[in-house]
């Protein structure tokens, strides 16, 4: 029995969207605390290569994921020190992180290029749920990291909107001076949020090298870190909407390959150059970003009020 094409398409959208989802969830935490981290691309790349190398050494993909988390967190710590304690320009600091991470990942991965992953993530059908028509194949026939991302989306949703910590996090992002006078530790909140952002970006990277590809290829994120930053705006800083957005972009990403495959049969598709198909996710990101920004500007919602502004107690 083979599944209808549309079901396969949706299922691949989930797989392709998962690295974006992890990175976007991380960036939501970071930005909710008022810090902008444009280093997602760099953190993902380092997560990808470290997760890959750790899996090669340990023969265990979970050790790879933990190593990627640690690496992503350490990368984010650099950004935290620069932007929170040393009050550096957050845009430039994030760019520096991406440039550094790109170099670091290529340097580390150089001698491993082309080696297969000994213990890659494999799909596990969830009993009962995977038997559901359509839904089962689309959502419940994936690997463990996909299921973990569902859990994290739910946890982040509850944490941000229904716990005291989440309230504090949002307060720090909106008005750090007021939060500070309420006794909320502004610096600690920001540090931990930025590091959580790095940890999740690291997992997103590891998903690429351990489940999606699965291997290490130089610059393998191919702009996904930036698309994740755009997704956060698309999701108006909401974990649930980030999930939807990630799958849409994941779908577009994998659609490119599908159209190429279909081109064999449909002659009108054959005339589209593969280069144009590859442009599609980037162009879509821009179009969506423009539409969403124009729309949210009208409704005046979204952006944490203190995003990108360092907090200085003396300037209260």
């Amino acid at each position: 029995m083979s599944d209808p094409l549309i079901v396969i398409l949706f299922a691949t959208a989930v797989t392709a969207g998962t690295p974006l989802l992890y990175a976007a969830l991380g960036e939501i935490f970071t930005e909710r605390s008022g810090v902008l981290n444009l280093g997602v691309e760099g953190m993902m790349l380092v997560g990808a290569v470290v997760g890959y190398i750790a899996t090669l050494q340990s023969q265990n993909h979970w050790i790879g994921v933990f190593a990627a988390m640690a690496a992503g967190g350490l990368m984010a710590l650099i950004h935290a020190v620069l932007s929170i304690t040393l009050r550096a320009n957050q845009v430039v600091s994030g760019l520096a992180l991406t440039i550094f991470g790109t170099g670091l990942s290529s340097y580390m991965g150089k001698s491993f290029v082309g080696q297969p992953v000994p213990d890659q993530f494999k799909p596990i059908d969830i009993p009962v749920l995977s038997q559901l028509p359509y839904i089962g194949k689309i959502f419940f026939s994936h690997d463990a990291l996909v299921y973990l991302s569902f859990v994290i989306v739910a946890a982040a949703w509850v944490f941000i909107f229904y716990t005291r910590w989440g309230l504090n996090l949002r307060a720090v992002g909106e008005n750090p001076a007021a939060a500070d006078s309420m006794g909320i530790p502004v610096y600690l909140t920001r540090y931990s949020s930025v590091i959580i952002g790095g940890v999740l970006a690291g997992v997103g990277g590891a998903y690429l090298s351990l489940a999606y590809a699965p291997s290490w290829i130089e610059h393998m994120t191919a702009g996904r870190g930036w698309i994740a930053v755009a997704l956060v705006i698309f999701a108006v800083w909401h974990p649930g909407k980030a999930l939807v957005g990630s799958y849409i972009f994941g779908g577009v990403d994998s659609l490119g390959f599908r159209i190429q495959a279909l081109g064999e049969k449909a002659s009108f598709l054959k005339d589209i150059s593969p280069f144009f198909l590859q442009m599609f996710p980037y162009i879509l990101t821009m179009i969506v970003l423009i539409l969403i920004t124009a729309e949210t500007k009208k409704r005046r919602v979204g952006t944490p009020a203190s995003l990108g502004i360092p907090y200085d107690r003396e300037e209260r």
Partner: protein, 365 residues
């Protein structure tokens, strides 16, 4: 504020200075490069290499011979032009990180002139190429600038996305319609006619693009510091609210600045195809547009300081190639670049603040 470190009633804190420290401003980039080399060196030791040997190889490769020096200048040209490009935008708090894509579009436009409209004298063809590259780079930047000016759409993301699109488009042309029919199916355009090739200095590869860079630095300096328009740009950059109250047209200036920014990066692309490769081919730029961001920031957006900084970073690139021939990945260079920028950013606080030891008798550290 809370102390950074607190021991026995004494605390190390950061205190705002009344003025901006000149000494810290000059020391910061120098110390940053030194510290980045130290970090890179530690990394090299950890991966089983001898940092002193590698750094001296890099230094000799970049500055140790006439050939090395000329190659360093060759790499400094696109860095200078694209560094100037991003600095104009940065001055207005426009985070144009699309210099890479704008460079590619400049190169594409210049190639279009060289391949299909190169009838005329050398000076006419070259001028047309520069003009086309400026307009193409500027228009490519407009795709991000217009939404930024009218809807405040985040230009960091849009300019970056446009980089990927530009490189893919350039590849499409090279592998598709512009492929040299006599090129044995290699992904290259036909070689440019003589009239479309920039003259070089003596027997070196240093081409006339150097003068584009120098002229651009001079023009930008005059425009930014000695015209009313430049004054407006600087006010908008420092305080958009004040600028709006003073009746300055922010939307118009965003568009103008981004056009100039993209245009300058476009000229960098023109100089590369016309002066170096003499055809459009894949991998035209090894990330000049990204390195330009570091160059611009290190030069504190100052056009003249940028001459020196782009020379040093040109050397870093050439040193990287030399190192690569001895088997080390050239990615070390982008690690070093990123690390330099970290330290510069981290050190900036000491131009505006100073470390103070409180709680004891001693005051300054």
């Amino acid at each position: 504020m809370a102390g950074l470190l607190a021991v026995k009633g004494r605390a190390l804190t950061i205190e705002k200075r009344g003025d901006i420290s000149k000494a810290a401003m000059i020391l910061n980039p120098i110390l940053s490069v030194a510290l980045a080399l130290l970090v890179g060196g530690t990394f090299l030791v950890l991966t089983g290499h001898d940092p002193l040997e590698i750094y001296s190889t890099m230094l000799k490769g970049a500055f140790g011979s006439a050939y090395g020096l000329s190659e360093t200048v060759v790499k400094a040209i696109p860095l200078l032009l694209s560094g100037l490009a991003v600095s104009v935008a940065f001055r207005m708090q426009l985070w144009n990180i699309g210099a890479e894509g704008q460079l590619y579009f400049g190169a594409i436009a210049a190639t279009w002139v060289a391949l299909f409209h190169a009838d005329g004298s050398r000076i006419i063809v070259l001028s047309m190429m520069v003009g086309a590259a400026f307009v193409a780079g500027g228009l490519w930047a407009m795709i991000a600038a217009i939404p930024r000016a009218f809807f405040k759409v985040n230009e960091t993301i849009t300019t970056l996305m446009l980089n990927y699109v530009a490189i893919l488009y350039s590849n499409y042309l090279i592998y598709g319609p512009w492929k040299d029919p006599e090129g044995y199916n290699f992904p290259l355009t036909a070689i440019f006619p003589e009239s479309a090739v920039l003259p070089v200095l003596g027997t070196s590869r240093i081409h006339f693009g150097l003068f584009f860079g120098l002229a651009a630095a001079l023009i930008l300096y005059v425009a930014l510091w000695h015209t009313k328009w430049g004054y407006e740009i600087r006010v908008i950059g420092e305080s958009p609210v004040a600028a709006r109250y003073a009746g300055m047209n922010i939307v118009k200036n965003i568009l103008i600045v981004m056009f100039i920014s993209g245009g300058l990066a476009g000229i960098a692309g023109m100089a590369e195809v016309s002066g170096i490769s003499q055809r459009l081919q894949p991998g035209l730029s090894p990330g000049y547009g990204y390195t330009a961001i570091i160059v611009a920031w290190l030069a504190r957006l100052n056009p003249f300081t940028m001459l020196g900084v782009s020379f040093i970073f040109g050397g870093l690139l050439v040193g990287g190639y030399t190192m690569q021939t001895s088997g080390l990945p050239a990615a070390l260079v982008s690690m070093l670049q990123g690390a330099i920028l970290f330290f510069v950013l981290g050190g900036e606080i000491f131009t505006k603040y100073r470390l103070v030891l409180t709680g004891g008798d001693r005051k300054e550290v």
